[in-house]
Symmetry: C2
């Protein structure tokens, strides 16, 4: 799954050979969607680089070489724009949850797929908005909406961990703390990752999932793990 | 080890029975240190609750029931105060590095001890300042200082991971990515943890280290891990 593959930006590249009389209106809708997406991406990049409060709708309009009223045609205000950026990132994670929902795979594999998309979203231009939206003096309604979506994702991760403990693919652990640890590691990507680094977002997400792997090893592996190395442990006074 | 055990706040509770002529000046120094520490703790709590820009030195003085000049006696300005809060947290981690430096324990155990103190620092009142100091429009010199200290800790974690790979106590991995994942999970504690929750900072730090454990399992454990569960994997299309 790659949410960008199905995006209007990509779909616009397909040959438009249909003779349907609805083609023109479909194309207009698609065109509008392409432009709306461009506004959101430009805003996400600006918020990321200059901060939310230091970015004006004028700045975003200038980046796109359009007037401010053009930007207002797609979003009603800056807060809405930030929310749309937040949503664009979060939607990638929600799509991953939907995609794995009916898979026959052990919960551990479904969790890994979700975490991979989570990591990619955090390394995308939307990462900053996803982790910082809540700090920006938003309206109470907007704050509640953002909190609810974050909670939905947190609960989804905990549920997959619980299912993994149940199907034996994840070693018994505290689902809440484990979800916080996994999400925290991934959220932090938005703080240190900048595009054009040596690794792509997908490679970082994949590396993180590999790091998490061992920590979520199947129960059977831990049962046969040799205890010998533990004897070498030196108790460290705290 | 507990850095607070050695703090002047605690030391002040010892009976001051010495007859040394230097006692009075030592006590004055200690008294000054106790007060300086109270100013820093009050500032850390205020920055955490209200944000750096929304907190004035007047607010901090009011919390301590002193005048603003009294606060200025201990720190020269608000930026310095933020830096002292940052330093108070970071110092707990640096102390942990110093403490494990000459231990005979495998690097994995030394790393765990450092991560435990790291997590405790993040769950303390200094956590917010540690992860947010850099975002506060600081002077270039201050920013460089903070970056250098963060880098020192990052390099220290990577070094322990490399040593663990070398002594066989940590499974071969990418030290840089692994350090980012571990630190990210711990840094995020400062975002979600509030005092007076059901778990103390020490309990959270300990829970996180347990979660990390499996991910850093000794090489010998992975060699004997059964491959059977892997066969159940269903390839998830991306």
């Amino acid at each position: 799954m790659n949410s960008r593959r199905a995006s209007p930006l990509q779909a616009g590249k397909l040959p438009a050979a249909s003779a349907s009389p609805w083609r023109a209106s479909r194309e207009r809708r698609r065109d509008r969607e392409v432009k709306r997406e461009a506004v959101i991406r430009a805003a996400a990049r600006a918020f990321n680089h200059k901060g939310y409060h230091n970015t004006s709708l004028d700045d975003i309009a200038a980046t796109l070489e359009v007037t401010k009223p053009t930007v207002y045609y797609y979003v009603s205000n800056k807060e809405q724009l930030l929310f749309q950026c937040f949503l664009a990132g979060v939607e990638q994670i929600r799509a991953a949850f939907r995609e794995v929902k009916d898979l026959e795979a052990p919960a551990r594999e479904r969790l890994k797929a979700v975490l991979r998309h989570y990591g990619e979203a955090m390394a995308s231009e939307f990462g900053w908005c996803m982790v910082r939206a809540e700090d920006q003096d938003l309206s109470p309604a907007m704050s509640r909406h953002i909190k609810a979506l974050k909670s939905e994702i947190d609960q989804g991760i905990r549920r997959l961990i619980r299912e993994g403990i149940q199907d034996g693919s994840i070693e018994p652990c505290d689902p809440k703390m484990t979800a916080f640890a996994l999400a925290g590691a991934l959220n932090w990507i938005a703080h240190w990752y900048r595009e054009n680094q040596s690794l792509t977002g997908a490679e970082i997400a994949s590396a993180f999932v590999t790091i998490f792997e061992g920590g979520l090893r199947p129960r059977s592996a831990s049962q046969v793990a040799p205890r010998a190395p533990l004897r070498r442990r030196v108790r460290i006074a705290r």
